[in-house]
Symmetry: C2
DNA sequence: GCGATTTACGGAAGGGTTTCCATCATTTTC
DNA sequence: GAAAATGATGGAAACCCTTCCGTAAATCGC
């Protein structure tokens, strides 16, 4: 409020605001020329160019980001709305996203969703006119209401780990993956395979359930609701360790009725399940076989058999796709589905275990 | 703050660019008044206010973010430079950061560092004039050269999980924590305690080493270089699972000389160490005791005794501090150090194990 | 050698806000 | 009832850039 003289005059230079007008004056040229030089426009003579660049350097010129964005009618920014609670999966995808974004010289604005009801607010914020050139929604069911508004704005939108007919999407063949995982267990000879699922508000959870169910049926094994447990008191969508623990504890209560093989809809749930099993005196894989989904870093560590998703790649592709749409809004809507691959480790009991 | 999104009536107004001039014309008032209404300036009569708000809603007005930022000389943006390779720790802190940032209505621009040499480039980008109101650097040793430039710009800067005399910082008493962890093992009767450390480019690694060493010496146990191993072929700073694995394998090679208790400088390294031990036929904690550092979610799952850092809180505080400095640049530089707390679980062997 | 192109350049206009200052209408004060 | 204070308002100026248009000089074609 009261900033008269600068307290320390030693640095007369200070980070004063140098504009193109200063450069123009100093270099004896017009502002248009400055802009042309700075933006590599061809019609500037080499001498002028050099002169301008020298002055700009001497004055330590920095363009004002927001003035540029305003004038260019471009934000050079992409925002990502991600659910923080899906931790391990999203962070890998995010790495890919960030990698590509910074390679392109864009900025990444992050909106981390802790509770589903925040989605709408974040979407509104990202939608402020001119704010971003595109938005990516991660792993979440975007409310129809929001979806409709997004559609209206005509802003490039991408869905990652989610699908909607109206927008580009990058996803994983969840049903297919679940089918493969379950089939793997069946082929190992298990005649009863349970599933640890997440809340059905999550689209991937639903799809994985379908794949699981189909695998059972194709192999002549009856599906019943009792074969699927979902952790109740769990945060959010249920893709977390506690939910896995709870679900497995439900199974344990069944006593001798308990299946001896399980497909968990995420690795992190499988981790919880392993805890529950260990605490209940079951060994994995000797007593109980388990297959997860995701192949997070930890899965390797825990020797968990799982379905691998190419997370980093998905992130990279999501950005590439989004950028493509920015430069060509009329591009046909594209849905890319990656097929997860079965990574066989020890938790399923398929390997002879000769290391310990 | 104020965006008037009418839930899609088939409004005559497509996502056309509506400006305050349009509102002014339509409402029969001047643009100054529009701005005052939208920014809750007191001197507007209730009738005028209502009239303006009605028109704004009807036209589905959205302020242009960058025009506002340009005129306000304020970016309402904070950027965070984070090392992606410190995964589990940073993500928790980031949650706190993001939580607070969005509560304040700011935007978070994320720069994820995969290789140390990227820091400089990202810093330069964040430093573009007007681009951000403040920057947070996470868990990294910022090169002196960059530090000097940051200082020059006078932009509010905060360090998280790192310390430098010239900037505010939020950190953890690493030496103290390492001391406590090591002492815990010593008090459990171990006469030889090894340490699994990260690369010494990392300040926390160095400090934890110091605490470890002091604990040994205070308890009359000689410190030798052989007691500390660092994974070699590891990504980045060595705070990762593979590095922990490698380091422990080095210890295993020692045969009967191998210590039977270890302090690992991070939980994730402890995970790797456990793998190495298991593969080599050692049980934890029966044969070998282990204490980690961080208390990532996984630690609970693995029943790892560890030093807990209040990660989420640290993130929240980092933003609060940064924002405080923005509004008062002459504020005295503040360093906050959290003391980690020992969380005793099973891996150290202190608990009777009656659950399985 | 002279009109027709081409090229380099200056600077106004535009991008969409906020803020400040002047103006005018109301109230208040004595 | 006049002077002064107060309050609401309009709009120019500022924020800092890019882009477009017009001009002047240089180059070309024949």
């Amino acid at each position: 409020m009261c900033s008269f003289g600068s307290p320390s005059k030693k640095s007369e230079v200070m980070a004063k605001k140098v504009t193109i007008y200063d450069i123009a004056r100093e270099a004896g040229v017009g502002i248009g020329t400055i802009s042309r030089v700075l933006n590599d426009h061809p019609s500037v003579t080499p001498e002028t160019r050099k002169k301008v660049i020298d002055v700009a350097k001497r004055l330590n010129y920095q363009p004002h980001t927001y003035a540029q964005r305003l004038a260019r009618r471009q934000s050079e920014t992409i925002s990502a709305v991600i659910p923080f609670f899906t931790n391990y999966f999203f962070i890998e995808v995010l790495r890919g996203v960030q990698d590509k974004i910074s390679e392109l010289g864009y900025d990444l604005v992050l909106y981390g969703v802790e509770r589903p009801d925040q989605v709408e607010g974040y979407a509104a914020r990202a939608l402020q006119r001119g704010k971003v050139d595109g938005i990516l929604f991660f792993s979440m069911k975007v409310p129809d209401k929001v979806l409709a508004r997004l559609k209206e704005t005509n802003l490039p939108i991408g869905l990652v780990d989610a699908v909607s007919p109206e927008f580009d999407s990058i996803s994983v063949a969840n049903a297919e993956g679940a089918y493969a995982a379950t089939t793997h267990l069946i082929e190992l000879g298990h005649r009863s395979v349970g599933m640890i699922n997440a809340q059905s508000v999550s689209a991937p959870a639903l799809e994985r359930l379908q794949g699981y169910r189909r695998a059972l049926e194709r192999h002549g094994m009856p599906f019943t609701d009792e074969l699927v447990k979902i952790g109740k008191n769990s945060r959010q969508d249920g893709f977390n360790r506690d939910a896995g623990y709870e679900a497995m504890m439900e199974f344990v209560k069944l006593g001798s009725e308990m299946p001896k093989a399980f497909f968990a809809s995420s690795d992190i749930q499988a981790m919880g399940a392993i805890s529950a099993l260990t605490e209940s005196g079951f060994r994995v894989p000797e007593d109980v076989a388990l297959v997860g989904f995701d192949d997070i870093e930890l899965a390797r560590h825990m020797r968990l058999t799982t379905m691998r998703q190419p997370m980093f790649q998905m992130g990279v592709l999501a950005i590439e796709r989004l950028v493509a749409r920015m430069s060509n809004p009329d591009m046909e809507i594209l849905h890319t589905t990656f097929s997860p691959t079965l990574i066989v480790r020890e938790s399923c009991g398929a390997l002879t275990r000769n290391q310990n």
